[in-house]
Symmetry: C2
Subunit: 146 residues, 2 copies
């Protein structure tokens, strides 16, 4: 299974728990999966428990190293400003995301966190990977709640 | 002791642990302290363990409620983009910070997280409270490490 497939699986599992369906995976330089997570905002009463933050924190804890300089963060949705800045602080090499998020994104939209000199490490960014599936998951989740 | 004095105390304690000296406090509508924290980035190998995130997470956990709509976040340094977006997601009412941070700040500088329509809740912001003391702490910390 590709990292983005695993992230999509985490997003589906999050939806089943009543969480906004976003999933994330961290892989190392060899492509090995270091960590995987889905949103846990509701379960933890913690809006900072986005999939990306949980996955990066777990990968860094695994290595007992706060920097993930060889790592790729895979996430089903364009990160918000919080998660984008976190990816910079964890110094991930690359961020690969699924659906673009014009409403709340912070990489290609809004705060554009990596585009300022106050951002001291800007990961490479690849957007739109398995975009349709990631977007459909979110659409179905919110449609069912309306 | 005022909330900002407590935050400064947390910043000093962080410095003694070898952490960048930033401290944060969350107070409720009545001004009661819900939580206090200093940076724990080094101890946890977690760059997302900024004082603000730890304090907001603790306050929300205490109440088992992900939103802190009546709360004020007090922090000795202008929040970075990660912590600014987190303050928005936790829906804190007000952010009061000490020193301005032209190098890495994300509220009055750089990403200016609260200034975009992708930010769905913008707290009131008050900067420069006990600014000189907060800035001196940081200056001394980095001078000693050079």
């Amino acid at each position: 299974m590709s990292p983005m497939e695993i992230a999509l699986e985490e997003a589906r599992a999050a939806a089943r728990r009543g969480e906004v369906p976003v999933g994330a995976v961290v892989t190392d330089a060899a492509g090995q999966v270091l960590s995987r997570a889905g949103n846990e905002v509701e379960a933890r009463h913690d809006p900072s428990a986005h999939a990306e933050i949980l996955a990066m924190r777990a990968a860094a804890a695994l290595r007992a190293d706060k920097h993930l300089e060889d790592a790729t963060l895979w996430v089903t949705l364009e990160p918000c400003a919080m998660c984008a800045q976190a990816a910079s602080l964890f110094r991930v090499k690359r961020v690969v995301f699924g659906a673009y998020d014009p409403k709340s994104g912070g990489v290609e939209h809004g705060a554009r966190v990596f585009a300022h000199r106050q951002c001291h490490h800007a990961p490479e960014v690849v957007g739109g990977v398995r975009e349709a599936e990631a977007a459909a998951l979110l659409r179905e989740f919110f449609a069912a709640r309306r």
